[in-house]
Symmetry: C3
Subunit: 348 residues, 3 copies
Amino acid sequence: MSGRPSPLEEPVGELSLKGRHFYNLAHFSKREVESLLEAAFEFKRGGGGLPLAGKSVALLFFDPSLRTRASMEVAIHQLGGQAVVLQPGQGIWDLEFEEGAVMDGSRPEHVKDAAAVLSRYVSAVCVRAFPKLQNWEEDKRDKVLKGFLQHSRVPVINLESCWFHPCQALADLMTLREKVGSLEGKKVVLSWACHPKPLPMAVPNSFALMASQFGCQLTIARPPEYALDPDLVELVRRNMEQFGLKFRETTSMEEALEDAEAVYPKSWGSLAFYGRWEAEKAVRGRYRTWIVDQEQMNRARAACFMHCLPIRRNVEATDGVIDGPQSLILQQAENRLHTEKAVLSALL
Amino acid sequence: MSGRPSPLEEPVGELSLKGRHFYNLAHFSKREVESLLEAAFEFKRGGGGLPLAGKSVALLFFDPSLRTRASMEVAIHQLGGQAVVLQPGQGIWDLEFEEGAVMDGSRPEHVKDAAAVLSRYVSAVCVRAFPKLQNWEEDKRDKVLKGFLQHSRVPVINLESCWFHPCQALADLMTLREKVGSLEGKKVVLSWACHPKPLPMAVPNSFALMASQFGCQLTIARPPEYALDPDLVELVRRNMEQFGLKFRETTSMEEALEDAEAVYPKSWGSLAFYGRWEAEKAVRGRYRTWIVDQEQMNRARAACFMHCLPIRRNVEATDGVIDGPQSLILQQAENRLHTEKAVLSALL
Amino acid sequence: MSGRPSPLEEPVGELSLKGRHFYNLAHFSKREVESLLEAAFEFKRGGGGLPLAGKSVALLFFDPSLRTRASMEVAIHQLGGQAVVLQPGQGIWDLEFEEGAVMDGSRPEHVKDAAAVLSRYVSAVCVRAFPKLQNWEEDKRDKVLKGFLQHSRVPVINLESCWFHPCQALADLMTLREKVGSLEGKKVVLSWACHPKPLPMAVPNSFALMASQFGCQLTIARPPEYALDPDLVELVRRNMEQFGLKFRETTSMEEALEDAEAVYPKSWGSLAFYGRWEAEKAVRGRYRTWIVDQEQMNRARAACFMHCLPIRRNVEATDGVIDGPQSLILQQAENRLHTEKAVLSALL
């Protein structure tokens, strides 16, 4: 990895929102994020116009999607634009990402050319590319998104990469704002949850960054093996210090939930066992009780229940909680649409 | 299955067409169907407007499609709306359909969430999901469509389920109306035809229901092993009794065709051998003569030839008949577009 | 093959551009091509209008695509129309192409029906279908495109077939015109290049035909085993004779490049080894030096570097050349958009 700047340390651009990339919500100042939120609320009230009239936007899905794809397609259309959906390996060419590669293998096109060509046709390139979950040192380079950020001449919007899911974080922020008003000092719990598979960390990463940037009293509950990336945790800690808050981690979901105002269960894979699922599976068997049920919710009586979806019902949380009155999951999903419109309008 | 209401017995909703689901054409009264037909004829004459302006419609294809997909995409666009095409398992998450499932298997998202989320983005959800053809007791629950009907908060349009293909039936009705005027008392033959594979029964089911609801003298010709579902046949029989007509089944295509005004060959699998294709194949070998050729058509001199397509040329019917002057197949296909516009405009 | 007219000898239609197929650029007179170019330049200057308003266009991709798909989708939208993307075998039915086939195999629908049905929904059918690369006698029938040309009742646009890639050739022509003005007498080199796979010949075929039709002093550089189809080469020769030019082939890239004004490296498979890649691979090992690097470019000091993309970087040409000041690859890619708009507007 050797000297490449990590995605976490990326310098914040000096540009206005127009023309900028949307890779990591934390690259935007609080004032900038507030302006996005303001626009999102205006869209939710039915405001709008057609700022994308005559413009096309490419949506590249290297990985599956329901909410992101449907909400982006609808957002682009409602703003007057055209969504062009492309699925590499399924109808479009597989891409090479290594700089200087001698391309005599199985990948026919370099991201350098794909990004530059798309920039001639469309006004923004939106990309989803999950980690391969074999090697964190490799995944943390986030090479698909990085390739497009480097070679696209139009704004790139991250639809979930190895590191970040900024569209989800912005929708989560909007939902919290609707529910609890200012986030400052509000106790919010991000809790690891059980799941039959090791999952990526983009959602918890982006949620933790967002919550800490906006002054939440964030607690992360997780089994010992499930720490998030230490550099990211350090950033979260520093963000919270600016509000005079102390970041807490605990291995007890029960303890964390007490008096929380929002509970966000989310599963992710263990960095300690990255790429070794058989070994992790043995450990994970001990954590089947990491499910949010009504008993847990009662510890946080007024708390709202959040999730980015898709959710494993009766594994991450029970049907009763997911469908109960504290659940904000559909509001979060709907806010994806409004916040994406805000991002598209601001950048394009 | 135990006490669940069967799709056949679904109560007819008391709502106006606006906001209703379009799952089974038989759930609509004759007066309601006539209003759809009237709108379809108006669209065919070039009338229209943009009743879907600003609206998006999701098209979920769990199974392949040419006509349905192309005609729906074009219909939605010509009405001013946006079609969002999603293919579960091919770019979008696989779905779980069992109520209360502990989701620790391979399906990451429940239809409950998918349907509720899509309802926040789009104005209608259109779904195609074929039977698995392993177990009729299982298939007849029609669980994919049922899942969306139950959990969607916007109208669901059935693009062919285990039981029904109401869009095809409406286009078939429009085509018959163009050709023979009132359907009452007109002799119409639905004939089983040969095919290299066991096929679903949605098209014959919906055609038989529609023909009987509109007073055709319907005859079904089929080999002994190829009865349609007995509950459905009973409904057809009762529909016809209301017109003072007697439903006929015969094992002789020749006999059935005599003096028919319309011939609709269609292949389907045997309920007696459901899920046991090897066994069925041995039986089916005896029915290679179930092909509509010119000799058969001559038995029904003035008859029109109908098929929903795709058709196995020179297996279900000969090239000569399919491409001959009696064939209505392209008219049927075109009427898909006009009737789908009528349905979309009425429901949304 | 027996008496079928070859795609090369297809008679030029007597129709105006309106309603014509766009299968092979060489089927259009120079005057007709000039009118397309003129429209393309007008689109590039920002002119336009919405000639496709209310119209839908089907895009059938039997094979992968990035530029073609994205540029066509954007072109159609910018002209006011709707693109309906269909991928046979991936969501739509597989097609049968043999006339009179007894369809008891694995292909459920005949092109005859698919083309006729689509003609009822859309205003043009655009088709991409690569050769199978097993048998040139079979591939040269170009049966997928031929099937649509025969059975569609609306214009068919070839998005790359076994024989031709007319959209690419038109964009290449536009790019050359921008760079060198009139093509007459300009020395242009089409050079075979190394590649890890045998590739189709549609791009070199269409480039050679176009260059010769417009009076270039065309030279083809290639190893001995890599002759293009002899009938095509004969046509190129005759085209050039009409300008008093002599067509040249050489087995030395170095020699060919001297004083060239444009260099178009492109890989293709050997007709001598068609369908026998293992055998061809052994031979090809000798031609690893067929790469365009800066040293080669220096032989053609003022030359522009062209490629249709995707390009195998550091195999067909070096990064330095591809990204250097002589490279026109992004201009070519952009001109796909403008020329496709010209074709769509002229034909529909």
